[in-house]
Symmetry: C3
Subunit: 357 residues, 3 copies
């Protein structure tokens, strides 16, 4: 098989996706830092198969996930000080995609290389930049997330694969009124409280903030399991939408003990990071971490909060995937909007505007 015979192969390839329908010139989440250890990780991001790995010095790297020799995914290979070695015939590629060794062959042809992507690691999140053109370099640094680095919180997290488009995950996170119907067993509680809570929505550039307060309300199961509340609580939900991720700070204090909107409020905190990265037009990666401020035994409280978070997110995944399956079944049937959709719709408009750029 020479470089010109691929088109003689008698199989159909996966159709090239249409002009990408995702906002470009953005930092998207590619991985959580602790995913990149001693093995390369293969992951399709915005329709591009990528291999993510660490060099010997710990630096993160991202290449097209395809050896230029016989197309094996480089993520099937192994890691060395100098890069990733293909698992078929042993070609070795460095962090910029240059082939630096072909076993048994002295001369390395100049074509022996694979495309590299811009990646950065910051506050335990690995970000990848997809620009409008292959060569366009990032024009900013990826965002900080000091919840991971301040030392005030314990946290953990993981990644879900969704059979649903990324914007349905945005919709879900932008409207926590669903807690009362979807998450009764964990963070939900009384549906009426959520549905009737006052909701404040603000925008600032490509950021949308939805804030909801539930004063003097019954704390939900997860809260009482993790914190010694005395009775009813003053509870807040603050949601910040950014194009590639959301930051959600929820929590509560004993009634009347602290202002719900005070930056330095005490009580019980759950601070979620939600990186929503399209895999394809109809599938998504959902990277999350959940951080809490333990009043005592940090390991036990972290374990409890993470366990409850996973139960909650499992419920969301089930709902959103069922929703999308039905949307495909029914096609373009109209949808009606209700009062809780304002924040999600504003986020959708931002995405639409960025896509058309």
């Amino acid at each position: 098989m020479s470089t010109s015979t691929a088109d003689q192969l008698a199989y159909e390839v996966t159709p090239t996706p249409k002009a990408t329908t995702f906002p470009l010139n953005q930092w998207y989440v590619a991985a959580l830092s602790w995913e990149l250890k001693d093995k390369p990780v293969g992951r399709t991001l915005l329709n591009k198969p990528v291999v993510l790995f660490r060099m010997g010095d710990g630096q993160v790297a991202a290449l097209e996930d395809r050896c230029c020799h016989r197309a094996l995914p480089l993520s099937n290979g192994t890691l060395e000080e100098a890069g990733v070695r293909c698992g078929y015939h042993g070609l070795l590629f460095n962090e910029v995609g240059k082939c630096v060794e072909i076993p048994g062959q002295d001369k390395i042809p100049s074509k022996a290389k694979v495309p590299a992507y811009h990646v950065r690691e910051r506050d335990q999140i690995v970000w990848i930049w997809f620009g409008n053109e292959a060569t366009s370099a990032p024009d900013c640094e990826p965002p900080a997330y000091d919840v991971h680095s301040s030392g005030r919180y314990v946290f953990d997290g993981s990644v879900y694969h969704y059979d649903a488009p990324y914007q349905l995950i945005h919709d879900n996170l932008m409207d926590l009124s669903h807690l009362g119907y979807v998450h009764l067993k964990t963070i939900g509680g009384n549906a009426r409280i959520h549905m009737n809570a006052e909701m404040k929505i603000e925008s600032e550039g490509n950021m949308v903030r939805v804030v909801r307060y539930m004063p003097d309300s019954v704390p939900p199961p997860t809260y009482t399991a993790a914190y010694p509340f005395k009775g009813n609580v003053d509870r807040w939900q603050e949601i910040e939408f950014h194009v590639s991720h959301l930051r959600i700070w929820t929590g509560a204090v004993d009634v009347g003990t602290d202002a719900m909107d005070a930056p330095e409020r005490g009580g019980f905190h759950m601070r979620g990071f939600h990186g929503v990265t399209p895999e394809t037009e109809i599938t998504s990666h959902y990277f999350w971490t959940m951080a809490t401020n333990p009043v005592s035994d940090p390991d036990a409280i972290k374990a409890k909060v993470i366990e409850q978070t996973i139960l909650t997110f499992d419920e969301d995944k089930e709902v959103i995937e069922a929703q999308f399956k039905n949307m495909r079944q029914f096609g373009e049937n109209p949808m009606i909007d209700i009062h809780v959709d304002v924040g999600a719709n504003r986020a959708r408009r931002i995405i639409e505007e960025l896509k058309s750029k």
Copy 2:
């Protein structure tokens, strides 16, 4: 996402099926009564995703299985006195599809509704009517099935999902000569007896009746397991095809003790109800019940007959799905007809005529 933005979603929807290829203006089986308890049931019938449920007063209802707000299947929701509540944001719909509550919102827009279907429950069968146009009301009541209500029989039943078009199930049921090759272990027995048995075929409107008598024959395993036959038997098979279901009355008496065609004949009876409802052009729901007249211990005999029936129907499913898989593989290769195909072909002609109306 407003009512007009659905078409901006970057995914392909399941293609709308062509003009329906099923006879309309018919009562089809939608469920067996005991399937509808405390949870809604989602089921696609004649290409339409439907949610089936009971209101608080026990009345059955059927709606399009899609919340008009964000498209979650209503079958993911929960039941209340007044209807079905969506499992995402809590919209409540009544038995005619009207939204009667939007939690947290006073005004319910007039567009907040989902289409409803005509359903009736009769003799423990739930029937649904699909007319030629969305609004066309049934012009008759669904058929009675007094085997379920007479008190003379014990019975049970369930539903199979078939990866095969509904007419292949008709073919199978209209020609019981396959018993000798497919069902050796249960109701089959000597293949030659079945193949050589005299067969009488009658039509009456859209009904076809196939009758076959096997006098002085060896009773098959299921028969001897359920009834104390003394030796050989006079055995009958009476098959009645209706457009949406079949009624099959098989049985036997000790040789010479009763006329095989006497309406009040004794002996051992197996009376099958077979509701064959298209799910799509290439998949089907097969609702069945099997009733028997126990000579003694009704629970034990019912259990035995149902166990044998399930073994038998499992064998049919395996054959019919393998047949259809092969038909797709080979396409329009011609088929030859043999002597046993007369009844099935007559049923196929009835369906063809109804489809063209």
Copy 3:
């Protein structure tokens, strides 16, 4: 359903493959002899669904895998002295596809027949001939394989189903340099030895031979597990590509005790037969046997060698299927060639030439 109504069925059939892209007028492997026992075997070969079976006298036969009555695969049927009996209504077909019995019907229509294929059994391999036109008879006998019949070797084998085109399996077998990266645990060993070994490539008609010698090398794990080598070995790999199968003779002697290219060399032998038969353009059957010359306890050594062979071939399957999945994903992106590709590329040119005939 009469012979003319098939086109009224409302489902789509699997699209007929384009003009076949496989070399025809070849004997391909259809089965290993011991696969054909008391049940018919259904297998798609070069896009044609085939039922393989033995007649009562042991003769092998191959028919189109579709009863001409209602299209059930004949491989769902049962075997009798006189042929294969359909598992639905009992039609019996002989070794040339003629229907010789329709139960319950005296006259057998002349159309009651299914196409038959040319098959031969030789040295425990069942070969099938696909000519350019349905009627074209073989112009030669299938090849001998006396490793199976000489009595000097113990052997066993089986068949893999591959989600990959057959030529990717050729590529893999024609270039054993991958042993050092893919098969470290069995027959691999030091990667550099494989990659740097001198390689000799010869062609002769449609045969390509790749020979590689590794004198004074460390024997790999499988070798030392099966043979009492004293230390380093002189090792050989001889690969013979034929259009429908490969013969690979590898082995080793204690350093300096025998010429590596002597026809009657001693030491430890692994002789592989590799029948690679396309199922479709994108899937393949890979029939293999592995033979060895046991120095002692033949059963134990055979078991050890077969166990190691399966581990090795499992690794190949994983790599090749991952490679193909990636090739579909990336489409016609160019590939670069390296030094080890010469033999595989020559085999590809032979296939290209035969396909265009």
